[in-house]
Symmetry: C2
Subunit: 354 residues, 2 copies
């Protein structure tokens, strides 16, 4: 089984821990290792090292190589000179795999999500890849929702396809619904969280890109000459920036008619911000999630991450406190999405802190 790990994101929402050169996938947000190390460990049950590919950015390349060591062959690590969202990444991965291995199905999965229930996960992924390959389908993975989460996209599943009761046609996508809609979806059933994981053969996804994102297909055509040669990095450097910046969901999946959803009945968490990271930890009796030395007085429902500084808290409720080497975040829990606004400000005014 071929796997492509997408490890080019920045994860600004984990500031002040996440930084330009130490992005989210390199952080230990679960206490069990970096996100990419956990992902590689999971992937190793499905894919051999030579079947595992990592897509990252030139800026992060050194840090990623250092983190993954020799778990993945150096030739299987591809770096984008500039981030252009997921559609170009997927297209590039498809070209590389077609050139190196052939038109075999591959899984696309983000480096920075947490997945549990390994057996069920592996079974779902294998079944989906097999179906995608046999039916020229574009498979997306939907997760059975457990709460009316508004931070995730939703997939409305249609009728079942294939032999199992795990694959469905897709009626529609809804990117981050209102709280009301999310509650309706949960009650109605048949709606799934869009996990950002996919399975397809290179020829099938490249054909879909050609049809729905022709400007990207043109850039990929120019890149193809360099794939499998020593000049790939140079070719990418001169062409990749011209690729349209578009997500594979918006650019292809929401438009194609050969999309199939594999329903995943396993634990999944995109660990998208300081709020969702709480889920992977045990709360103390007052609802606090605390990493690091601390003294808490009348403090409840807080999230505290500080590895090198004791945190003394008094009278706090629903507050996030995060200490990195050179910055501190103190934020109400229902405002963690605004951490990006701090990063935006820093980009203009104190770029050494991003």
């Amino acid at each position: 089984m071929l796997s492509v790990i997408m490890a080019g994101g920045i994860g600004e929402r984990f500031w002040p821990l996440s930084r330009r050169r130490r992005p989210k996938q390199l952080l230990d947000l679960t206490g069990r290792g970096s996100m990419i190390a956990l992902t590689l460990s999971r992937v190793s049950e499905l894919s051999k090292p030579e079947e595992t590919f990592v897509l990252t950015s030139v800026e992060q390349l050194d840090a990623i190589l250092q983190e993954i060591g020799d778990v993945v062959p150096r030739d299987n690590v591809i770096s984008e000179p500039v981030g252009r969202n997921t559609a170009p990444s997927v297209g590039l991965a498809a070209l590389v795999i077609r050139s190196r291995v052939g038109d075999e199905p591959f899984i696309v999965l983000p480096a920075d999500h947490v997945v549990g229930d390994a057996d069920r996960y592996n079974a779902t992924v294998k079944g989906a890849a097999y179906y995608a390959s046999a039916n020229d389908s574009l498979v997306t993975f939907g997760i059975t929702p457990t709460r009316p989460e508004t931070g995730y996209g939703y997939i409305h599943a249609g009728r079942a396809v294939g032999d199992t009761e795990e694959l469905f046609e897709v009626n529609s996508f809804d990117e981050k619904p209102s709280a009301e809609k999310a509650a309706d979806y949960l009650e109605a059933g048949g709606y799934y969280w869009n996990s950002g994981m996919f399975a397809w053969r290179p020829s099938v996804i490249l054909k879909a890109i050609e049809r729905f994102v022709p400007a990207l297909a043109e850039v990929l055509a120019r890149i193809e000459s360099g794939v499998g040669t020593e000049s790939l990095d140079d070719v990418l450097k001169s062409t990749y920036g011209e690729a349209p910046s578009v997500s594979i969901d918006y650019g292809v999946m929401e438009k194609a008619d050969n999309v199939v959803m594999a329903s995943g009945d396993f634990y999944w968490n995109d660990v998208g911000n300081w709020e969702s990271v709480r889920e992977v930890y045990e709360e103390d009796g007052d609802g606090n999630v605390v990493i690091g030395d601390h003294v808490l007085i009348d403090t409840k429902n807080c999230t505290i991450f500080s590895s090198d500084c004791l945190v003394g808290a008094i009278g706090l409720d629903n507050v996030v406190v995060v200490k990195s080497k050179d910055a501190i975040l103190v934020c109400k829990r229902d405002r963690v999405h605004q951490v990006r606004d701090i990063v935006q400000w820093l980009k203009k005014n104190k770029s050494e802190l991003i």
Copy 2:
């Protein structure tokens, strides 16, 4: 004019900035220098270096000497082997001054308060010391209150004495009244904040100690033999711990009948905790007092001190954030008095952080 600066306190309420070996009087809480440096600068307008005495603890001695440099002669710095509250300190200072200078009036003032309006302050202090000396009085300084503060003790002034309208008999003391009482005091007039500053001649305060705290007088009698000799530190080491731990207010002032209050119509702030320190700074338009690099989003009425770490705050209201080298305090503003509870916990569990 002789001045005795009391610089033996710890100021636990300024944790995590205040530490055992870097107590409050050594902190720069105003942005204009350490508390003791500001106090010495103020005192220098009334007292020559050889007329200025500093009382500190053995534990803080080195740090205090380093901070005050040669502003005060080394012989004028006296260190207590153990803290026994203010009555023993005052008694010891009286012995030293009587031995070194004679029975001349001296001012006692804490090293860690902020005082403004220098001209009025100097005039009040001089007048009070003159009166104390001429009338064998124990003078305490009361500050005209500007708000119904419950964190201060109050002095209820009686009828005026002397020629000025600045000296009064004392009807009673009230240590930290209820909010209701404090409001009544402010409305009624004639009530003053107890500033912890005093003026008297050595013989007068020593006589009062003999009468009201005889156990202390006994210890002082044994100490007196060492005063003015090289063996003072040794004598203190073997005797001082036996002195009763009692404040000069409770032990003497509330009981003596020759107490006079000098009313101070100058700015005074005991800078007692992270709340009162706000007063010496300008607030931003959202009511925040911020020292150090920061990015504030929807944050108001906060107090932020962080000299080496940028603080990003989102959605906070009435929160104190203080970063020291190895600890962080995050505390609701109306709970700053509980900072001492953190220090108590640390004493037992992580004493390297106090």
